[in-house]
Subunit: 135 residues, 2 copies
């Protein structure tokens, strides 16, 4: 179990027990929706408020401690900020996996062919994960 106290502080966030627990869940699950996060947090802090979840998620997003991933035909999930990467989203079980894909050649082509200045890429590949293909 990683100690996120200092990492939170580096992002200008006080290290409260609730925030440490959120960070820990994000670390363990990788990707998590607001709804699931709330359910997990209630187990640890029975009187936690959904407002606390929302306030923290929003602050963490503003301070780039976490990132939001918007999934087609599904709810957004959140993850700890890491190096840029893409995602595989299962349409059946809604699991989300990280995947590293080099998109530089694509960025180069667009930069040469248009005047649009790309600052970030957001690629979600939807489909069926290995587990769900078995069922």
């Amino acid at each position: 179990m990683i100690n996120y106290t200092n990492i939170l502080r580096e992002h200008n966030l006080k290290a409260t027990p609730q925030r440490l627990a959120i960070a820990d869940e994000l670390y363990k699950k990788g990707h998590i929706s607001i709804e699931s996060l709330y359910e997990l947090m209630v187990n640890k802090f029975s009187s936690i408020s959904l407002a606390t979840i929302y306030k923290n998620i929003n602050l963490m997003l503003e301070n780039s401690f976490i990132q939001e991933i918007k999934i087609p035909y599904s709810k957004s999930v959140y993850e700890l900020t890491q190096a840029p990467h893409s995602h595989l989203a299962c349409e059946k079980c809604f699991a989300v996996e990280d995947i590293t894909i080099d998109l530089n050649s694509i960025i180069d082509i667009i930069t040469k062919e248009s005047s649009f200045k790309i600052t970030s890429t957001n690629l979600v590949l939807s489909g069926i994960c290995e587990n769900c293909q078995l069922g």
Copy 2:
């Protein structure tokens, strides 16, 4: 001005004046949010209800007449269904442009290296559009 009557019917949607107007706005604007669509529709049908917008957008999505595009840090926009393509999203003016990028090589690599079965790609490149770079 394209006549969408038959196209709507092919998607099992009755061709009402409201639906024809929605199709026409999507065609003209390319990409449009719920909010903007409602504002445009009120000009044509002063007593139109937001519920009608939502019901129609949802039906059109279910029948694949339109597609939803989720934009990071912004609202979703909708477009008429076309051949698969990607999007450029301006972080400043929130304009969305279509762009055709061949992602087959990426799909091939993932298909070979993992057991995930990709059924669709969703790539949004965020940045600053040409117009906003001038300002």
